[in-house]
Subunit: 146 residues, 2 copies
């Protein structure tokens, strides 16, 4: 069993701060379209960020276990929230992942990590909505030895 904690303190208006042990606090507020301030993270966006970054963490774990040499990793997640009969809910998340691996790496093996991500990312599998992954793996093209 693993435990994760975070706390929120309201400042004013529709904004506050999230604190977690010895981490840097994060300013947070209701999304602008619901009356919150500009330029701060919203809870909805943090949910999307949790999914996006957990997939990175999961990818790095399996890549290491599979001997895949990652050169770079970047991803973007778009989460969709809809009005449903039960209220606002996230109904889908689309994740685009772009990975570059080193030349001496089995690219197909890296691509096959997609199914591991789909099964074992603990944040995205904890959501009710489908999380659809698009994983692109490329091989590093520039040679260190010129």
């Amino acid at each position: 069993m693993y435990n994760y904690r975070a706390g929120t303190v309201w400042d004013s208006g529709r904004a506050g701060r999230i604190q977690g042990d010895d981490r840097l606090a994060i300013r947070v507020g209701t999304p602008q379209e619901f009356g919150g301030p500009a330029g701060v993270w919203s809870p909805e966006q943090l949910l999307v960020a949790a999914v996006d970054s957990c997939l990175m963490s999961t990818f790095l774990f399996f890549a290491e276990r599979s001997g895949i040499k990652v050169h770079s990793y970047g991803s973007t997640t778009a989460g969709r929230m809809d009005k449903t009969p039960e209220g606002l809910r996230f109904t889908a998340m689309d994740v685009n992942i772009a990975v570059v691996v080193d030349e001496n790496t089995d690219v197909d093996k890296a691509r096959r990590l997609q199914s591991k991500l789909e099964k074992y990312c603990p944040v995205s599998t904890s959501l009710r909505c489908p999380v659809i992954l698009y994983l692109k793996v490329a091989v590093r093209e520039d040679h260190k030895d010129g």
Copy 2:
């Protein structure tokens, strides 16, 4: 329909940065117990933070609609992740909310917002696991007019 986006870029080891439009980037990493760095937010903790802060945002929304004058709001969420037959999953979240309302506010009305939070917080209702709320409402005791 509402869309929320976030992106992650890997830096090194088990750590990277989360970016979201014009927000401050957040350093993120695998939890320490899984080989990540100390002192940065983990995706798991960000999920908990998203739940915790979304409940604040939802509370403030309904409080305003109900004419409840909030003096202070603080909350803490503990998320529990377990090994399940399908892999690691969040299995429960417990949220403790402490609200202080102004003297001229209907305390019972404030307490009844709990059912609104349970139904309408878009982040916590998007999770598979139960999110259990403990809402304490107190009345502000110090008088401005001394």
